[in-house]
């Protein structure tokens, strides 16, 4: 239901496909703080848009949220404080980088589990193959010697 409302809201935001740039007058005075704020914009979702961060959206609410983040940074909050603040207000939906919890363990873990178990399988296989590639056994050497010394019989094939 909430999603439906969002989709409807997004449908009305007709000016969505344009660049989102703030008036430089809105920027934080401290360049370091501004660049921290701008990298945070990329992690925070615009609540009325279809899958856009507040860095990309030109919607009014995205502008308000950018100013909110700037305000927090200016007040001396750390990046993690800002994320926590956003999470407390809006929940998981707001963060484009999902928090690592029990519910997102599969999301974060599955690709790496695949890589690690694949590498593990390769290593296990290696142990199985190696004997075949190694030295010949005494009986095999004898068989080889017999084959090498025996005269070839054209009719035997």
């Amino acid at each position: 239901m909430k999603r439906l409302a969002l989709i409807v809201a997004a449908a009305f935001a007709s000016v969505m496909l344009t660049a989102a740039s703030d008036d430089p007058a809105d920027h934080l005075k401290d360049a370091g703080q501004e660049s921290r704020a701008e990298s945070l914009f990329g992690e925070i979702r615009c609540v009325v848009c279809q899958n856009e961060s507040i860095a990309a959206s030109e919607a009014d609410i995205a502008h308000d949220m950018r100013m909110l983040v700037r305000g927090q940074i200016a007040a001396g909050k750390t990046d993690q404080d800002v994320r926590d603040y956003m999470y407390a207000r809006y929940g998981d939906y707001i963060l484009l980088r999902p928090r690592l919890t029990l519910g997102t363990a599969i999301l974060w873990g599955a690709p790496f589990v695949i890589v690690l178990s694949g590498l593990g399988l390769l290593l296990a296989r290696r142990r199985r193959i190696l004997p075949l590639e190694g030295e010949l056994s005494a009986s095999e050497l004898a068989a080889l010697k017999r084959l090498e010394t025996e005269p070839q019989d054209p009719g035997a094939s």
Binding site: V15, P111, I114, L122
Partner: protein, 681 residues
């Protein structure tokens, strides 16, 4: 009348596809050559029928026949001809018609060529292709007919979404669909092989050209889409990890894995089950992509023809087609034997690692794309998975894949020499480390990941060139001899090198752009200037423009470097009255490989009553490489495709007398080597 003819042709194609299935299966059971020919003929006829239907759709759009509801909803008399044509595949119904056209076209090519295929395999392939055709044509005919009439035809159409009115996007869907649907042939081959119970080197060789073709189309299609997003959306970015982008990217990743695993199956008879599995996956992901884009199940910034009800039907079709394939796989695949043995250090192992990393990367993209939907269904709480997740998880896994890439071609089949390969790659490795160090030291602010990426890009390019130099024995023999060796390399080798270099070029471009990007914004009145990186921009004027189907404000901006004007930019902000939409027309100054990307933002009335404009400029260093890289990759695919050994009619062509003009790989040395060995044994 034209629209009715179109519907009729679609119905005819549906019947023909069903006939194709029935005739081919009967032919396979009875062993009848006549029925087999009839099945193949039905495949050709189904294509002709869809071609006729599609021509009818085009005609309806070109003639602006607004009594056809699809035309009325997606076209307009004031639209330029190109976009009237592009409008025919801009809607859900039209895009499915295009999908059917590509599907039957490939089906016809399989049926009417490839005479050297074993008849059982071919007949079952044609039957499977007919089954896929019947599913999708049936869907289009019964649930999404593009020829529906409306009782009261409007005088004017509703127009195509204006951001879609762009040349890159006019050709983006056809390319993408040719790629998606190209994998249908691979899928059909896999199903046929499972039914016949035989996957061998010959099978892999028949599948490879189709995979290459589909992969090349998909590469071009994705690149066009990305380039379109880059200059049309006006965000200054080119990839957003949006679900629609991911939908097209997953089949590409699987296709890339399949290209490599099919080589192992062809050359060494190994990894048969896995190759068949990937072949089934490739088209499944292509269908999943279409389902995701067309159903609206997943929120996206750029899905333009969405209909949830039909999504359910599309999902059912997907389940029906893929479900049958994977069930067959579970039943038959355990039969396949393992193939040749190989040592831990061997070409086989490197390709296996390639597949492992690509599979894990695909899972990352798949999970990231679908997780919000699944999470919400289970917990009824919404969650977002965005670019930071993909950048991290996908980035790490792909970096691993790219680091081992240059070693692969330098390591021999069966048992390779790791130390030797690394020694030969020392120069490339040194260059890569130097590039990464330089990237980290000289670019500010410091971005470690971008610097590592630059190193990987150089590593790929230099590593691929090293392999080429090795093959030519450059430096170890006379230049003329090296050139002769290069000339004698099979096209497949050139294709591989081109594609790998293209990958490196792309990675280099993406990382330089990421690390060195400069953004500057200013609210301006005409006459103002501002600085973007090393460039100085002056807003000369802003004037109104009366377009064919839009109104616009166009700015005249002069970009200068060291006081000398270098470029006149004219970004626009367009308003389309028919659809009440505003879009931004970016203006890009091309400075060698670097883009100076200028966007005209909204108009703001100042306190003094003088209008002001928000102007944003991005300096995107080496941005051309981002799009040039994939073009090189696609060229590599086409080059490999032109290799004589990979052509479909290879059996017939091998005996044609023209062979002398294209010499085979070093035939003389091989013959000599054999001659030398002979007396010794």
């Amino acid at each position: 009348m034209i629209a009715e003819l179109g519907t009729f042709a679609f119905a005819l194609a549906f019947a023909l596809s069903l006939a194709q299935v029935v005739l081919s299966i009967t032919a396979r059971i009875r062993g009848s050559a006549m029925l087999r020919g009839a099945g193949e003929g039905a495949a050709g006829a189904a294509f002709l029928a869809i071609l006729l239907a599609f021509a009818c759709l085009l005609a309806s759009f070109i003639r602006s026949d607004f009594s056809v509801s699809n035309v009325a909803e997606h076209s307009h008399t004031a639209k330029p001809l190109l976009y009237k044509i592009a409008g025919s595949w801009g809607s859900h119904e039209g895009s499915m018609a295009l999908w059917c056209l590509a599907l039957t076209a490939f089906g016809a090519v399989v049926a009417l060529t490839g005479r050297n295929l074993p008849w059982r395999l071919k007949t079952m392939t044609v039957a499977t292709q007919g089954w896929l055709g019947a599913l999708f044509i049936g869907y289009t005919l019964f649930a999404s007919n593009p020829f529906m009439r409306i009782a009261d035809a409007p005088v004017e159409g509703a127009s195509l979404n204006p951001v879609l009115q762009d040349p890159a996007l006019a050709f983006h869907p056809p390319m993408l669909y040719l790629g998606y649907v190209g994998f249908s042939v691979v899928f059909s081959f896999a199903v046929a092989a499972l039914i016949e119970g035989k996957v061998d080197a010959a099978w892999a060789r028949w599948v490879r050209p189709w995979t290459l073709a589909a992969w090349s189309f998909l590469t071009v299609g994705i690149t066009l889409g990305s380039f379109w997003a880059y200059y049309e959306l006006g965000w200054g970015g080119w990839w957003f990890w949006d679900s629609v982008e991911n939908a097209s990217f997953m089949p590409w990743l699987i296709g890339t894995a399949l290209l490599h695993s099919a080589i192992v199956t062809e050359k060494r008879g190994a990894m048969q089950g896995w190759t068949v599995f990937l072949a089934l996956c490739s088209f499944t992901f292509a269908m999943l992509g279409t389902f995701m884009v067309r159903s609206g199940a997943i929120m996206s910034v750029h899905a333009f023809a969405v209909d949830p009800k039909r999504g359910i039907i599309l999902l059912s079709i997907m389940a029906l087609a893929s479900g049958a394939g994977f069930t067959l796989f579970a039943w038959r695949a355990p039969k396949f034997s393992g193939g040749g043995l190989y040592a831990p250090v061997s070409r086989e192992t490197t390709l296996l690692l390639n597949n492992l990393f690509l599979a894990a990367a695909t899972v990352a993209v798949l999970f990231g794309t679908l997780y919000p939907m699944i999470f919400e269904a289970v917990t009824s709480k919404p969650i977002s998975v965005g670019p930071p997740y993909f950048d991290l998880v996908f980035g790490v896994i792909m970096a691993l894949a790219l680091v081992i890439l240059p070693a692969g071609p330098l390591i021999a089949w069966k048992r390779g020499d790791a130390a030797g390969a690394l020694k030969r790659l020392a120069l490339a490795g040194g260059l890569a480390l130097a590039a990464a160090a330089a990237g980290y030291a000289f670019v500010s602010p410091k971005r470690a990941l971008a610097a590592i990426g630059c190193g990987i890009g150089i590593w790929l390019i230099a590593g691929s060139l090293t392999e080429l130099a090795e093959r030519a024995r450059l430096g170890r023999t006379a230049i003329a001899e090296s050139l002769r060796r290069l000339g004698g390399l099979p096209r497949g080798a050139w294709g591989m090198t081109l594609a790998h270099i293209g990958m490196g070029v792309f990675v280099l471009g993406a990382c330089v752009e990421l690390g060195g990007k400069v953004e500057a914004t200013k609210v301006m009145v005409p006459g103002d200037t501002f600085q973007a990186g090393i460039y100085s921009l002056k807003l000369d004027s802003v004037g109104p423009i009366d377009g064919p189907n839009y109104l616009a404000e166009r700015a005249a901006i002069t970009a200068s470097l060291n006081g000398k004007p270098i470029c006149a930019a004219d970004p626009e902000r367009r308003t389309y009255p028919e659809s009440h939409t505003t879009t931004s027309e970016v203006s890009i100054c091309y400075r060698g490989l670097t883009h100076l990307y200028i966007v005209l933002g909204e108009r703001r009335e100042g306190n003094d009553g003088v209008p002001r404009w928000l102007v944003t400029a991005y300096v995107n260093p080496w941005a051309w490489l981002i799009f040039l890289g994939p073009v090189l990759m696609a060229l590599g695919g086409v080059t490999s495709l032109s290799d004589r050994r990979l052509r479909l009619g290879v059996g017939r062509k091998a005996v044609s007398p023209k062979i002398e003009s294209t010499p085979e790989v070093e035939p003389k040395p091989k013959a000599k080597a054999r001659a030398k060995k002979a007396p010794a044994t």
